[in-house]
Amino acid sequence: MCTSCCGCCSALRPRYKRLVDNIFPVNPQDGLVKNNMEKLTFYSLSSPEKLDRIGEYLFQRASRDIYRRRNGFVVIAMEAMDQLLVACHAQTLNLFVESFLKMVQKLLESTDPQLQILATQSFVRFANIEEDTPSYHRRYDFFVSKFSSMCHSNHNEPELRDKIRVAGIKGLQGVVRKTVCDDLVENIWEAVHMDKIVPSLLYNMQNSRYHVKEADTPEPPQEEHADPPTLAETCMRELVGRASFGHIRCVLRPVLRHLDLHELWVPNQFALHTFRIIMFSIQAQYSYTVIETLMSHLDDNSKSNPKIRTSIADVLSKIISIAAGESVGPSVLEIINSLLSHLRLSVTREDPSDEPQAQRAEKLYQEALINALGEFANHLPDYQKIEIMMFIMSKVPYPALDHLRGFNGPGDVLLQNILLKSLLKVGTKYQTIHFNTTFPMSFLEPLLRMSLAADPDMRLLVQKILHTLIDRHHNLEKLLKPTVNIGDLELVLEKSSRPDIIFIRKHGPEIYRSLYESLEQANNTVENIEAVYTTLALLCVELSSEETVMEMLRLVVSIQDTALTNGSLSAAQKYNLHAVVVSLLVLIPNVVPITPLMEYAEKVIEARRNAGANHLLPELLVHYDPDVCLSPSQLGPDVLVDQVAVTESLKGAGFDVSRLQQVTPYGAGGPPGVNVGHRHSWVETGMRTSVADLNSFQVEVDSVSSSPGVQKKHPEEELTFESMKKLLSEPPESAKEAEEERRLQLSETFRTADFHDLVDRTHANNDILQNKLNEIFSKLSTGLSDGIRPPATPTPGTKQDNDPLHSNNPPTYEVLFPELFVY
């Protein structure tokens, strides 16, 4: 034994060997002989050329000691090597490192856990040293393999098992640190390594306390002794954080594989936790890649159990917002489009003959996707939300008008439904400021068209979309149901802004007409009627002005007309409409104070109450007792809203009612119901109104508004009203101004937003993306059942001729989103 034969023979040995021998004590438990170690260190520093031989010799001694199971000496040898490694200068380390690593490997190969742990510590120490010239031929295969294996230790003593696992994780962390910075060293991102490292980390993270549902698990006393899950998570963050663009997928692929194989999608807490970690550690500009990868995983799982898909989509919805801030330009649309494609796929997959349970599961999946859509939109700037809404709208297969119903397959209805739900979701995340920004023509028009869909659920959805977009002052909850007790509602009112008034003057007639027609639908449920009421009430509240009062009252009278004369509505539906009429009649003068009108409204309510006509008052019921409920004609004229009385009330309040009288098709004062022909002509006029007719409408509205008849009754409003009047008399300029303002706003957003760095990239990708989108879109429109498309030869008189989205014009998105393609 060397330690005992340091007498005569040692003199013949080379000096470095003697120095090495001397650091070992006689009894291993005495530990490294400190002053001799200092001598060895000093010698190594002064004769660096001997360093590699010292290393080799130490290694040989340790190998022999391992073989003889004299672990105490092995530990000392390792310690000596550690010290030399730290003490010696970087440029001389190269060869020594080879021996050092051989030593580490030797210890790792031993079956003794203590030696393995010791070796890992040494390796980590080495990993933290910066080498001047890393050895490019050095391979880390063994270390990755062995450390990964240690991460899965199954030692029967739990404490020791955790120690081995911790060592494994730290070892992997060391390898990553050592290799990640330098491309010439081992490429740690290769699948052969990542497929070991990533599952090893995840396997340990899986056991974290975050995911086990133990309600009252106390927090660990301290973080110093990090447990395997915590440490694995730290390592994971570091790994993801160091991944450059080309490497993200190398990490994500094994992550997804692991989650699949370990069946960690349902329930998805761990999957979610993992992806949160990834999203928070990834270099922000790449976060989009994660979304993309997760989406394509959804593709890969298109045949999987809907529960799995739902879980994946749910994870997507919960991390997508993190990426939203980083997504710009085409990538936004790509994400949206991908989500819509998944929705579409899910809809086409739905089979009515499926088990109800399977259908429910598929529905949950769709909801998860819609949530993802909403979450994504939620974190985008408002101008992009509008674009997304328009985009979704452009994907909605058009319901044909009622007489085209036959061309709508059930799949279309489902798709419409799903898309409108998505639209609603995005809409709820959007906060309207100006109506003209929220409702560009290309959005408003199809939306209104959809509001007349044959399917009552669809119409309801459209109304809900309108609600969320119109309601700026959180009055929605208060106006969900018709009521005549407006005072109780405590509505929040604000004077309309200039652009709003321009908006409603321009589009009011068309909106009102759609709402009016919507109330005429024979298959309306109470909910449908209530929803239209809510839309009208919100419009009234949001756009309150003397100007809107006229138009609104005209509509109220028309609705009553329908309630009296329409042959296709049920008695209950007609009673519902009467209740809506009186609720609006009382709401209007509450919003725009017109005392005589308010008094008149109260009178009508009173009359209905006195006549026992509760069925003509809210709330709206599905069934009315036919024995008790008399029709209005049986109840006498007092229970009805009388056009003449309304006109008189307005006159009394100082309004110029010429408009109401002129334009209204209802003969002044004539008994309701007589003017059926007129009514129809009014409706038809409205029907013909479309984009092309807007100008004429404009002219009509202008001429009315500029007529100088309106007088002020309320002096406190004078200023506002005066200025308003002025504005109203100059509509074309103001409209232009508003448009200009919007443009400026938009370009401002583009200028100030911080994505200059991305401009180049976007630019480069632009053409490819456009082509890709084109491709997807054409698939969207042709892939679906042929029934989705309107007939090739349009029936005369349908709206199809005006439909800009189904013509042979440039792809929809180019028209809709020129802003997105500016660079």
Binding site: N154, P199, Y203
Partner: protein
């Protein structure tokens, strides 16, 4: 000591419970472990053997049979020099799974990997797979075949020794023209040619 001429990586695969871990323990530690838990992920053992006075170091990677660890275990196939596919001769399902395992090997391992089929637990009375069935299967898929008992230490030593010998022969014939080419691992001991050379074949 640390001097060895050849380093070979051997990976064991097969259904959980067929006795992979027992085979490795028997070979590396000379014991039949009582009731150890199922392997998770991958286990590692090392053994240096001597053939024709040449030291050969065997790195043995013992994989978990369960499906859920498949992603990590597969990543070990690629660098394997030899793959030992184990089934339990007293358990038909473990034999029926062999085609699946072969598909995996086909996909993830090197095409040149030495493949050995092992029917383990021959000490058991309740054999379900006759030896010739296993042998047929091996022949059809051009694998070597051996029946073992980790419990009774039957053929275990032989299994690994013959693998080592075969790999050494392969290495010699392949490496002959090249001296100390690329070193595959950190230990830097390449499979250099040796003098003297005899090759024992698998039975």
């Amino acid at each position: 000591m640390e001097d060895y001429k050849f380093l070979f990586k051997v990976v064991l695969v097969g259904n959980a419970g067929v006795g992979k871990t027992c085979l490795v323990r028997r070979f590396t530690q000379g014991l039949f472990p009582p009731g150890q838990g199922a392997t998770i992920g991958v286990d590692f053992m090392i053994k240096t053997v001597e053939i024709d006075n040449e030291k050969i170091k065997l790195q043995i990677w013992d994989t978990a049979g369960q499906e859920r660890f498949r992603s990590i275990t597969q990543s070990y196939y690629r660098s394997a020099h030899a793959l030992i596919l184990v089934y339990d001769i007293s358990c038909q399902p473990t034999f029926d799974c062999l085609p699946d395992w072969l598909r995996e090997i086909e996909e993830y391992a090197s095409s040149k990997v030495l493949r050995v089929l092992v029917g383990n637990k021959i000490d058991r009375e309740d054999r379900e797979i006759p030896a010739h069935v296993g042998e047929d299967f091996a022949q059809r898929h051009s694998m070597y075949y051996l029946e073992t008992s980790a419990k009774e230490a039957e053929n275990v030593e032989r299994l690994f020794m013959e693998i080592a010998a075969e790999l050494m022969e392969q290495a010699r014939s392949k490496e002959l023209p090249r001296y100390d080419s690329n070193s595959p691992t950190i230990n830097g001991r390449t499979t250099v040619i040796g003098d003297g050379g005899c090759c024992s074949r698998m039975s």
